[in-house]
């Protein structure tokens, strides 16, 4: 019954040998594969949450994992998010590497006490003797016409919490590589999955496929190699450009790439920076990009006030003040509750609003 808790040694190699070096996968599929590999490689890894077992998760990210790795290692919990996080913390104290899921972003709120006061502080409180290698998966952001509380953006909250690291992938490759990187870290990571991108496909170069890249950042990812671990620590250039930097993360990266194509038609060469890590923020990458373009727009779905856009804008301003041609623009959600499906296209930064932001920066005149 419990023989699968420690994965048999031979299994991973066998399986790895069967998969090709590169696959076309959806983000959902890439995350599922990453979890499969993590469970095979790390006998201490556990997946837990509401409906993650038999059902395989409401987004099927954990599909098949319980059957393959055992119902002890991939298990459903009762319906209580504080319980899921509190239990994960205790499992980490017992030497496990839990990968809990909260089913939707809006249901992370009941777990905030455990996340802020416990998950983020146990290593500190215990003077490093009780590390918290916990990766909390949070299907995040809007765009799927879902019920209330199923489309929240909590990155500003998470990024403010001492003791947490926060990351959000923007495509299948990022999802696969960043999830594996996060689960190998000895510290707690909040992993924000852009749910509107779950079914979006892309090429994914697998680890150990021999095609692993060595160069840093975008080059490695675009060049077809699987990102090496040093590629996964900072931001990445999703599209190089000269006139202006669009900074985004999660689902907004794809939208910004679309905007960049449209802007290119008007001769505006936009660089798109996929921030990836929302804590720590890659200030160097921001400074390098905006140092070159001298103009920046930050885009996020979360409400504007006290959103992470303010932080990103201020980091850019601190580093590039002397060369900035215009104040950094923010194109964001409004200071309103995430609206019902009918209105979500009015709420989420759309192409027009991002183009307006770009225009304001380009047309900015001092005084």
């Amino acid at each position: 019954m419990h023989e699968t808790l420690t994965a048999p040694k031979a299994e991973p190699e066998t399986r790895m040998a069967q998969v090709p070096a590169q696959l076309e996968l959806s983000l959902q599929g890439a995350l599922n594969l990453a979890l499969d590999e993590i469970l095979a490689e790390d006998p201490k890894a556990l997946v837990l949450g509401e409906d993650v077992g038999t059902l395989g998760g409401v987004f099927r990210v954990t599909s098949g994992l319980a059957a393959k790795h055992g119902a002890e290692r991939v298990f459903d919990t009762p319906l209580a998010e504080s319980g899921i996080l509190g239990m994960s913390i205790g499992l980490a104290m017992a030497g496990f590497h839990p990968i809990p899921e909260v089913q939707f972003d809006g249901f992370a709120y009941p777990a905030v006490n455990q996340i802020v006061c416990q998950l983020g502080r146990m290593n500190y409180r215990s003077r490093g003797t009780l590390p918290m290698p916990v990766t909390l998966r949070v299907p995040s952001f809007g765009g799927i016409r879902a019920p209330e509380h199923h489309g929240e953006s909590l990155e500003a909250l998470f990024a403010h919490v001492p003791g947490l690291k926060v990351v959000s992938p923007s495509d299948p490759q990022q999802g696969y590589s960043l999830l594996k990187a996060a689960t190998r870290m000895p510290d707690p990571v909040i992993f924000m999955e852009p749910k509107s991108r779950y079914w979006q496909k892309g090429q994914v170069v697998l680890e150990g496929s021999g095609a692993a890249g060595t160069a840093r950042g975008g080059a490695a990812n675009d060049g077809g190699g699987s990102p090496s671990s040093s590629d996964l620590t900072g931001a990445r250039i999703a599209r190089a450009g000269r006139h202006l930097t669009l900074v985004a993360w999660g689902a907004m990266v794809a939208r910004c790439l679309q905007v960049a194509e449209l802007a290119a038609e008007d001769g505006i060469d936009v660089e798109v920076l996929d921030l990836r890590w929302l804590k720590p923020i890659d200030a160097e990458a921001l400074a390098t990009s905006v140092g070159k373009t001298r103009r920046a727009v930050v885009v996020h779905e979360a409400p504007r006030t006290s959103g992470l856009g303010g932080e990103v804008a201020q980091i850019i301003t601190e580093r590039c003040f002397a060369t900035l041609k215009a104040p950094v623009e923010r194109v964001t959600g409004f200071d309103v509750p995430y609206p019902s499906g009918d209105l979500e296209d009015e709420y989420i930064p759309n192409i027009d609003r991002i183009l307006f932001g770009i225009q304001r920066v380009l047309e900015y005149k001092r005084g």
């Binding site: 059902l55 395989g56 409401v58 016409r145 019920p147 409004f334 200071d335 309103v336 609206p339 009015e346």
Partner: protein
Amino acid sequence: MQTSGQSTTAHGRAGLADAPRPPLSDLPSVEPVTGSDLVELYRLMTAVRHLDLAAISWQRQGIVPAYAPELGQEAAQVGSALAVDPKRDFVFPTYRELGVARACGVDMVEYMSTHKATWHGGLWNPAETHVAPIQAVVAGSVLHAVGWAHGQTLEAHGELPAEGYNVAITYLGDGASSQGDVHEAMNFAAIFKAPVVFFVQNNGWAISVPTERQVAGGSVAARGAGYGIPAIQVDGNDAAAVLTATRRAVAHARAGQGPAIVEAMTYRRGPHATSDDPGRYRSLEDERLDAGADPVARLRERFVAEGIADAAALNEADDAAAAEAERVRRGVLALGGRPGAEMFDLVFQEPTDELLRQKANWQAETEWHEESEHA
């Protein structure tokens, strides 16, 4: 623990008889249900059954993007709702309480607007109907019911009014019972002796998780004893039994005796929501064995057996229900979207300058967009 795909069933094949029962409660007894109660139950349950099935087909036709069916829970919902008086009492539903809302007189087009993605919570007026907005957070409104109920005793300055206290009824599922808020609510309610009824629909499942892997001890009602709250477990597919049990609980709260719990043992016959695929976690055979008798058919059989109403009368109810579902369909189709300005205007009673500024920017950019589309 199971490994995948196959699940043990919620209630076991023996059905309700196996479920643990709390000790006999000290709730007051009430008048037995009358023939006209039964007719009213049937009329409403039939209407709800039609609307519920219709909503599923509307989802398939693309009229609404999603829906959470309540198939099989008509007796629990209508039976409990008929026990309260929405003129004075206050009802706190979840996202699956079509039957409750219908029985309490909520306009069904305004109700369906939530599922049409028009407005989170629905378009009806909760202050007037005394039915709170749809609550998408599991167990999110259980504490609100306790607060509202405590407000009734404050309003009465501790003197039990002649007509008793107004009562809050809050709905929750077996899954919801795991949330910490439910514990806090029950404890607060008992400490403050608040006139509130916790109505649990134990429908065997929380999405894919069966009750026995959710509710330790096996019964939410059994938790009542630990708080000193009287609790009653009832066959949730027997509308008359639900009505009686809930009336007893309401009478208890109304009389100033504090909170009560009713746990209706029922079965979620459909998927969790239209996006769900129950085949991944239970077989059709499981469903057949666990669901028990259909509550609507059961009531109909009782009518025939007891000669309360004849087939013609029952068919009339069916026809009325079908006609109503069609009217609602047309209403839902005709339902326009809400103006985007409401995103800003309805956040506060007194909007902030910053919000007005954001609204103005949004308007300017939207108008530009609309103009350019017309051009």
